[in-house]
Symmetry: C2
Subunit: 124 residues, 2 copies
DNA sequence: GATGAACGTTACGTTAACTTCATGTTTGTG
DNA sequence: CACAAACATGAAGTTAACGTAACGTTCATC
């Protein structure tokens, strides 16, 4: 596989802008691409996977700060972590929040259905 | 019931700041409280209910613009609306978006559970 | 070896949803 | 009536998450 990907290809394949990639690098959410002499950065498939994951989490409504807290769990090896209890409690916290939000959204969905029914009934 | 509520009480009972109430009034999301002579605004329970609904929808991730589009449906009579087809398609669009988001969140929830399982298994 | 597309860096601009500040008016309680 | 708490209004500041502009460098291909 070709592991010499520049920022343009990385951005295009992840469906984000170049500016976004650089912004994520600047805040440490994405690792800097290796610079090979000339000044240009080169990226790997791993970075692409991570970038896509970040984008996915963002669409769920997580802020970049929140994403920073959880995205590593997709890529790190748990056996190397010292404070597993802390990580676990963080994960459980996010799980509770997520499930709570699912419930609220389901209620909103039901309300929308009610409104739709009301309006549909007006056509009879 | 006492229907002479001023902005402080309204804000406090809806768990938002006074500034937020005024901001919502300024962008037309909340009706202006009636001014009784002196310049101060007085609000009703209806406004409080509306304000709470706005806050609830905001927590679901809707923007104030989006809230403006749907919040009226909680309080108006459908039979009085002229462009019912338009409203219906709008509501169906929000329903689809919401259900989509529920699905994605459920997937995220499952992923979180997987990670938690991983970490828990490390303690054995 | 020229030349256009892609890249790098710095800095200012933008939008949403407010907050903070400044300053003046109204209310209500002792 | 004094006086603090609550209210009104306007303008400027804030944060997140980038977008846009300006300007110089590098890559690749003809």
């Amino acid at each position: 596989m070709d592991n010499r990907m520049r920022i343009g290809e990385l951005a295009r394949r992840a469906q984000v802008t170049i500016r976004t990639v650089r912004y994520y690098e600047s805040i440490g959410l994405l690792p800097q691409g290796m610079r090979e002499g000339s000044g240009q950065h080169y990226y790997t498939e791993d970075t692409l996977v991570r970038l896509r994951k970040i984008d996915q989490l963002k669409k769920l409504g997580l802020s970049l700060d929140e994403i920073r807290e959880v995205v590593d769990f997709y890529f790190i090896d748990p056996s190397g972590v010292q404070s597993k209890q802390k990580v676990l409690s963080l994960l459980r916290q996010y799980l509770a929040q997520t499930d709570q939000k699912i419930n609220e959204l389901q209620q909103f969905s039901a309300e929308l259905r009610t409104h739709i029914d009301y309006f549909e009934r007006c056509f009879t």
